[in-house]
Each structure stands twice: as structure tokens, then as C-alpha cells.
Amino acid sequence: MSAVIEIEGLRKTFHSMRSGRRVAVDGFDLLVEAGQIHGFLGPNGSGKTTTLRALLGLVRADSGRMTVLGEPSPELLPRVAGQVGAIVESPQFFGNFSGYRTLRLLARAGGVPVSRVDEVLDLVGLSDRGDERVKGYSLGMKQRLAVASALLKDPRLLILDEPANGLDPAGIREMRDLMRSLSASGVTVLVSSHILGEIQLICDHVTIISRGRRVASGRVDEVLAGHDRHEFLVRVAEPERAVELLHAADLTAVVDGEALVVGGVDDPTVISRVLGEQGLWVGELTPLRPDLESVFLELTGAYEHPSVPRQVDDSSLPHGEAVIDLDRGVDA
């Protein structure tokens, strides 16, 4: 598949008279191929939005190479801008304009037929509220309008930064369905979000960023498989005796409440055989598969000390990497 977005070695440092310098993105790589719904994850302040802004020419990168639809960005971004729909953070719209007028204005500025406005309003579920002023919109409605503005160009590439912000559960589901249908029609989608369950449901590929560096990337199932500890939840009548038996069979096992967590198991029939041979019958045997949230928290070190409030810059780097000394400063 051809690369739709390529980022290599992106580095961006913000400087501030008051707060000094802060490395927001530090040698970050990203590859999004045609047809993917690619999730872009990272804790607050990890450099997600800065990366997207740099890609779209809104901030100047210190170094690195970026291409969008095969064109170097930001130098030749205007060549492909008509095929890229993007929202970065929560876009601000003119409050006195109606949703329809807002989109009509953007359509005019971008040379898009005005007839497209009604189509996208319908797509995001705002066709009945398009004549109302934007300042009267809820956060979720503004977010829908933002997505509509990104869809206006009928893009080949859609970049959505936190599209589910402010959406109610039904809206989140609609957004999910919309992205799936867009992907099915050949649109490549890069979506950043904090709602990890959503990303897992929607995306086929994922890249995780922490403190400006890529800490994981690939197919979602492969990333999850890479963090699978081959653990199983086991319920038996005598947990303590079961632990002893499993240890004797060179398996790791710990009591977790009324059940056991048994690790390092490739074939779960081993557990039922070891315990069954000693007259302990297994009542439940459930594989403990990692989900995106647990992988994300593990990779970014975002949940190491639940009792201590976590600071924005407390995220971690890839295993084995030295922690770079970041000056605290400008919020990217």
C-alpha cells in the first residue's frame, strides 16, 4: 500500500522567554498507508497536536521529513490541500454565523461547490440545525460542525484531532460509523483520541506517542499481541492448593481475590490437566487479553502510582531509552 502520511525524525522545540525551551516532539516517526483508519494515541502534552500542526504547516518543525499524499509538507502542501480534510483540536467558528453559513464560507474559500454543504451537514447529523447560530451550539454540535468542515472537500485523507470531544454516546457511535463508511469508500483516516476503547473499535492501525517519541506502532491486533502475557483467570475450589500445583508444573500463578491469575501459558489445556489430575476441577478458564487502554497505560507509564496525581510530563519513554531532560514551559 502507498504511504499517505510519512513523518521521519520530526523534532519541534518551543521557546518561551518566561519558561525557556521545551522539546514537544523529539525524533518522531509516523507512517499511515492508504485505506487505513490509523489511531494516534498519547497522553496530554505528549506531542500529538504539535505533530499534526507541523504536518499541516501550522507550526515550523526544527527538523525532520514529512510528506502528505506524496508531497513534501509544508512546502508543497498546497498542491494536495484540496484532498486533505483536517480538524486540529477544537476549531473555533464565527459565533454569529449559522452552521450552514460557516460551511458555505469555507466552501467558497476553498473553491468547493456550495451544494456540498447540505451533504456534509446531513452526514454529521446537523441538517436540521444548520440554520441556527454556531454560538448556540453545544460542544458536541460544534464538534460535528468541525467534522463537517473537514469533510466538505470530499477528502482522500481525513485528519481528525479528538473528534469525539463533547459528543454524547450516540454521537460517538455515529462518528464511529461515519469513519468506517468513509474508510470503506477509500478515505484514509488519521484520528487522535483519548477514548481508547473507541480507537480499538474503529482503528486497524495505531501509533502511540509519549514525550514526543513513538513508543508503539503497527496493526492494533499486533500491538496488543506484543503485550499479551499469556495470562488466564482460573476459578477452582481450593485456590491456595492450586497455586502450589501450578508452581510445581513451572507455571506462574497468584491468587487474585477468589480466583487465580496464571501466567506464561501458551496452551490453556495444561492448566486444566495439571489441576484435574489432582482432583481440582476448573470452574472458569478465561484468557486475559490486553486491551488498548492497558497497553497505552503500560507504554506511557500513565498509571504507575494511582494514589499520586500524575503530572502532564510524567509520561514515560520506550523501554531502555534515557529520559530526556525536558524544560517545563509552553503548552504545545
Partner: protein, 337 residues
């Protein structure tokens, strides 16, 4: 062209622009209404009386001039207590800029020819303020709210987007200024025709008024561009307002005071307000007693110096051009976050 149309729609929909237009119309209406109420068409007897008074005044000036000449020739009868200038040409009626006319002796009568120029100055002052504030708020609010970012996601050409905004601003302000001034002058001309006096509306009058009007429009455009440029550099509308206030207080007031204390020569030529005045009125003269400090008692020293309109225009263009170029250069490389 599409971008300009879109920008035009945004600009015209801005509440601040609408508010300023309403204020303009309101100020215009109040001025016109008070003029209309305070003026009346003079009666024949009022006109005759005014003409007689003007003729008397002109005769009196001629008599005084003749007496002055007689005084110089020592042919004036003794016992005359009047004092005369050493140079009688100073009171020669022929050398005066204008002689008393009937309109000078008509109270409560609006005279368009006499009042058009100050009225136009008032309108230009308002339009200069309008242009500066609208220019600053147009880009300042857009930069601050993320509107520019939104637009750049659609048209990732920074120079084109900023140029379209500036061009739209200047075009809109120019059209508005032209319409407002045309309506303004036409209204007062009509008041002069119907409820006052039109005055002497000859070719010289219209040429002079047209020149003031043209220079005023240029000043309005320059003020709009300056407001736009400073707000772009400072990212906020308030940057332009702050810069204006700081300049007025620090340089026009404080700087002028310091220049006086250190006895600097021709301090007014260093003030932007002097150049604005010189440009608008086609030239300005400033008094500086220091200019006569070295002259001997026998030489006549007037103590005035002039600022010509070409010099004033060059200063204003240099300032506006410099600020605008700086705004474009900074915007081209700026991180938009």
C-alpha cells in the same frame, strides 16, 4: 477571488464592524440634525443687513489702510490716536486671504462653503479611527480565536491568506469611506440649499475640498493598514490599541516634553501627529523660537518652519510600509498554536 469573497462576508458580519457603522451613521445623523435645527433660510432683510455690515467692514478696512499709509507719509492730521503697524501692507485689504462677506454677519445660518471643510475633517477623523480599530480587530480576533488556523487548513498559503485579508479590509474601508463621505457632503450641501446658504461653490472650492477628501481617504487607508499590521505582529487586537496608546503617551506627550527640556530644534517634525496634519491640510507651519536664537536684531526672523505634504506622505508611507512588511514577514514563519 473566492477567498476575498469569503473574507468580505466575514468582515461584514463582524459585530464590531457593524457597531462602528452604526456609530458612524449616528454621529452623522446627530450632526446633520443639529445643523438643520440650528439653521434657517435667511430673509431678504437679514441678507440686506448682512451685506451692509460686510460692506461697512470692508470700507473700514480700506479706511484704516489709507490712514496707515498717510501716517507713514506724515500726512495724517495730528490728534489721531490710532496705532498702525510699521508695514501697512499687513493690513492692506487686497492682501488678505479673505474679506468680510455677508455670510459672516448672518447668525443661525448654515453656510455650506464655509463649513464643508471642518465637517469633512470630522468625518475623516472618525473614518481614521474606524479603519484603525476595524483593521486591528479583524485580524486580531481571527488570530486569537483560531479563525486564521481554520482558514489555513483550507488554504495553506499564509501570504495569500494574509494578503487577501488586508486587501479585503482596505477595499471595504475605501468603499465605506467613499460612500459615507459622499452621503455626508451631499446631506450638508442639501441643508445649505434648503435651510441655509450654499455659499460660494466655485471651481476653487470643489478642487480644494476634493484635495482634502482625497488626502483624507489615503490617511484612512494608511490607518487601517497600520492597525492590521500591529495586531498581526502582536497577535491581538489589544496590541494595536496598546501600541497606539503607548505611542501617544510616551512619544507625543513624554517625548515632546523631553525635547522641550533639552531645547531641541523643530521638535514637531519628529511627531507623527505633525505629519498627519501636514498631509491632511497640504502642509503645516510650526513655530519654534529657537530658530531665531542666532539672528541679529536688525534681521527679521519669523520663527516658523514648514512641513510639506510630500515629506509627510513619505513618512506615513514609510511607517505603514515598514509595519506591514514586518507583519507579513513574521506571519510567514510564526507558529500558529
Amino acid at each position: 477571488m473566492n477567498l476575498v469573497r469569503a473574507e468580505l462576508e466575514r468582515l461584514s458580519a463582524r459585530r464590531f464592524v457593524q457597531l462602528m457603522v452604526v456609530l458612524l451613521v449616528l454621529a452623522f445623523a446627530v450632526t446633520a440634525a443639529t445643523t438643520l435645527v440650528g439653521s434657517h433660510k435667511p430673509t431678504v432683510s437679514e441678507l440686506n443687513s448682512a451685506r451692509e455690515q460686510a460692506a461697512d467692514a470692508r470700507r473700514s478696512m480700506e479706511v484704516t489702510h489709507q490712514q496707515c499709509l498717510a501716517y507713514q507719509d506724515d500726512s495724517l492730521p495730528s490728534g489721531t490716536n490710532e496705532t498702525f503697524p510699521s508695514d501697512c501692507s499687513a493690513i492692506d485689504p487686497i492682501r488678505q486671504d479673505r474679506l468680510p462677506i455677508a455670510a459672516d454677519y448672518l447668525s443661525g445660518v448654515f453656510n455650506f462653503a464655509d463649513q464643508a471643510r471642518p465637517l469633512l475633517y470630522f468625518l475623516i477623523a472618525f473614518l481614521v479611527l474606524f479603519g484603525f480599530l476595524v483593521g486591528a480587530s479583524y485580524i486580531g480576533a481571527d488570530l486569537n480565536s483560531g479563525g486564521v488556523v481554520n482558514l489555513l487548513l483550507w488554504r495553506p498559503r499564509r501570504m495569500t491568506v494574509l494578503a487577501a485579508k488586508l486587501g479585503t479590509l482596505l477595499g471595504t474601508v475605501l468603499v465605506l469611506a467613499l460612500l459615507a463621505s459622499a452621503a455626508y457632503l451631499a446631506t450638508f450641501w442639501m441643508i445649505g440649499q434648503t435651510a441655509g446658504l450654499p455659499g460660494r461653490l466655485d471651481g476653487d472650492f470643489w478642487r480644494s475640498l476634493g484635495a482634502v477628501h482625497g488626502r483624507g481617504l489615503v490617511l484612512v487607508l494608511l490607518a487601517s493598514a497600520v492597525g492590521f499590521a500591529i495586531a498581526t505582529l502582536g497577535r491581538h487586537t489589544s496590541a494595536a490599541l496598546g501600541a497606539l496608546a503607548a505611542y501617544a503617551v510616551v512619544w507625543e506627550l513624554g517625548g515632546r516634553l523631553v525635547l522641550e527640556i533639552i531645547d531641541a530644534r523643530r521638535p514637531d517634525r519628529l511627531m507623527l501627529s505633525s505629519h498627519i496634519g501636514a498631509w491632511l491640510s497640504g502642509g503645516a507651519r510650526f513655530f519654534d523660537p529657537r530658530l531665531c536664537a542666532g539672528s541679529s536684531g536688525t534681521d527679521y526672523c519669523e520663527g516658523f518652519y514648514s512641513l510639506t505634504w510630500p515629506t509627510a506622505l513619505a513618512v506615513l508611507l514609510l511607517l505603514t510600509g515598514g509595519l506591514t512588511a514586518a507583519a507579513f514577514a513574521v506571519f510567514r514563519r510564526r507558529d500558529l498554536i
